[in-house]
């Protein structure tokens, strides 16, 4: 009996070994994997892989970088947090709650854009934000939609207690809006524009009302980046080469945007319409300026307080300051001994200086 127990536990250990070695071992290495999911501001990642621009820059620094698309946004962040990927595209809010809250030291390598109308609140048969009082609101709970709702309610002196939040899967949001019991939704593009197009729908608030607070970023593992600066340089170099192409008016820019549009299931006018509500940082200088701006720390404070209020800022977090967030000037919001999210524009600065 005892012997078989020992055997069994040995077998169990052997079986579970692959699970435990999944974590990224920080050391110098050659092969890197980053992941992304479909969103207007992240479509360039897919294009970088397909067009060979990524390979060109990876070859320059003598490394391999694989860019992988993952169909489910939250799943992609979870995979990164679990150590399967060296980097992943996500918002500032999800970066703080999932990897940083989960103890994975994460650096904002490329600050790509912020939502400038891509997330919004829609009411059925009502036209004022204040009318949302007493309604049931369908949204993906704990997502940026939830954050947007909380910020919007602040502006009209309401709080979440004045309404009922119903967690609704984004995949079913459009079907949900078509049912009689759904009277208000908070969601993002392209769902937002799809729902807004319905005759009885009015967009009463969108992220243009809180500019620069919902930021879309390529987040990478801090240790991996520190041990392999070539990884950061290659990603940043490739990204800004594509940004220059994408923002140009010529045929090359249009064909790159068309490819991204098709990959996201729309056409060029549809994709351009989504870009119009996204503040892309096409030049590294803009992104550096945004990252260094004094507004960023106060945004992250809002976000941390929101996450803490919802009870999702790490396990048993005693206060919103539980996870430290460091900024380019060296200042830290929160616990200086537990800095897990870093805004570090040094790689983007190299691109701005033409030093890559």
């Amino acid at each position: 009996m005892l012997k078989s127990f020992a055997k069994a536990s040995l077998l169990a250990a052997a079986l579970s070994l692959p699970l435990s070695v999944g974590a990224v071992q920080a050391e110098e290495k050659k092969d890197f994997k980053v992941c992304w999911s479909i969103y207007v501001g992240w479509m360039p990642w897919g294009y970088l892989q397909d067009s060979g621009i990524m390979k060109k820059w990876a070859d320059k620094y003598d490394i391999n970088v694989e860019i992988v698309q993952i169909n489910d946004y939250v799943e992609s962040i979870n995979q990164y947090t679990a150590g399967e990927y060296d980097g992943c595209s996500m918002t500032n809010m999800d970066a703080l709650s999932i990897p940083a809250g989960g103890g994975v030291d994460t650096t904002a390598l490329i600050v790509g854009d912020y939502s400038n109308g891509n997330d919004g609140i829609i009411l059925k048969d009502k036209t004022e934000l204040a009318d949302i009082k007493g309604q049931s609101v369908n949204l993906v709970e704990l997502s940026v939609s939830h954050y947007l709702l909380a910020r919007a309610l602040d502006t009209v002196g309401l709080s979440e207690k004045d309404l009922t939040v119903i967690n609704t899967s984004d995949a079913d949001m459009i079907a949900a809006y078509a049912t009689a019991d759904v009277t208000s939704v908070v969601t993002w593009n392209p769902l937002l524009s799809e729902i807004e197009a319905q005759p009885n729908a009015t967009k009463v608030f969108d992220s243009a009302g809180i500019p620069g607070e919902i930021i879309d970023i390529m987040m990478v593992n801090t240790e991996t980046l520190a041990d392999n600066p070539a990884f950061g340089k290659a990603l940043v170099g490739a990204w800004y080469e594509l940004m220059a192409i994408m923002s140009s008016d010529g045929d090359e820019g249009a064909s790159a945007r068309t490819a991204m549009a098709e990959a996201s299931g729309t056409d060029l006018p549809g994709y351009d319409a989504q870009l119009a509500t996204t503040k892309m940082f096409y030049t590294p200088a803009e992104a550096v300026a945004f990252t260094k701006a004094p507004e960023l720390p106060s945004t992250m404070k809002f976000v941390a307080e929101f996450l803490f209020d919802k009870g999702i800022l790490g396990e048993g977090a005693p206060s919103p300051e539980f996870v430290g967030v460091s900024f380019p000037d060296g200042s830290v919001y929160g616990d200086t001994n537990n800095v897990k999210l870093r805004f570090d524009p040094s790689f983007m600065q190299m691109a701005a200086d033409g030093a890559l």
């Binding site: 435990s20 979870n78 919802k310």
Partner: protein, 273 residues
């Protein structure tokens, strides 16, 4: 002695039964230990201790926002949905199953349709369910019923067909009407098999319950799991999974016990798993 003839003693049987469970827990603890060596705050495989704390937090400490004990609210709402859905399915299985199994004309009309309908994966027609039943409780219960009733009806109908023809002829010879045969012969014969069908139906019912709660909800075991998945809180998810498994196991055993107590004659011919 050949291995097929060697029977374990009660104690050995218990130990052998526990072994795979212990091995799973030990394997988990080892994997979790190694992951947490790399990152003490690892979320994927949290320690058994932190899962215990999370479970305690959900079960015994009122939620900061609503003041509810989340685990019990979730459990109550989920069980209510599951119970209502299965009650409807059982009722449908009993009425339609007997009608299809006992009356040839009804069988010709409904059996092929039901066989086809039971093959539709209910999840794929969700938007239609939403428009028909709304986004509230009704849609969730409807999903459970649509997912479980067709198969339960079919196995009940089969149970009716399996009643020895001699018994029915005997009842007819004694002058029983169709109604009398249904009440005095068919229903008593079918009830234990209906309980078996219910036990089998509970397996997909749990799956449909969890998926329904993942789509649009404010409470429930599935709701909680999909909500906290947004920040990879495996310390909450894993205890919830164990809890759901335990509830499902207890429900299954309770039904088996009811069947054994009420229909002793049905369990005379050797025992099943």
């Amino acid at each position: 002695m050949r291995i097929i003839n060697r029977k374990p003693s009660r104690l050995t049987a218990l130990a052998l039964g526990l072994l795979p469970f212990v091995a799973t827990i030990v394997g988990y603890a080892i994997a979790s230990h190694y992951r947490r060596l790399d990152n003490p705050a690892d979320k994927l495989l949290p320690s058994l201790e932190s899962m215990g704390q999370a479970f305690w937090r959900m079960a015994a400490i009122p939620d900061r926002r609503s003041g509810d004990l989340l685990l019990w609210v979730d459990t109550f709402d989920s069980l209510w949905r599951l119970g209502t859905g299965m009650a409807v399915s059982t009722l449908l299985a009993l009425t339609f199953g007997i009608a299809i199994g006992f009356i040839p004309h009804v069988r010709s009309a409904l059996a092929p349709y039901l066989a086809t309908f039971s093959l539709i994966p209910p999840i794929t027609i969700l938007p239609i369910l939403f428009i028909t039943f709304g986004l509230g409780e009704l849609a969730k219960i409807a999903l459970i019923v649509i997912g479980t009733a067709p198969v339960m009806i079919r196995s009940t109908a089969q149970a009716v067909l399996d009643i020895p023809r001699e018994m029915i002829i005997k009842a007819e010879t004694l002058g029983a009407s169709v109604w009398q045969m249904t009440v005095r012969l068919v229903i008593p014969q079918v009830l234990p098999k209906l309980i078996t069908a219910l036990r089998m139906g509970l397996v997909p019912a749990w799956i449909f319950l969890i998926s329904a709660e993942a789509i649009a909800s404010t409470t429930g075991l599935g709701y909680r799991i999909f909500l906290v998945r947004r920040y990879l809180a495996m310390d909450v998810i894993l205890p919830y999974v164990v809890w759901i498994t335990l509830l499902a196991f207890l429900l299954d055993r309770a039904l088996l016990l009811i069947s054994r107590r009420s229909f002793r004659w049905h369990h005379l011919g050797g025992d099943a798993l």
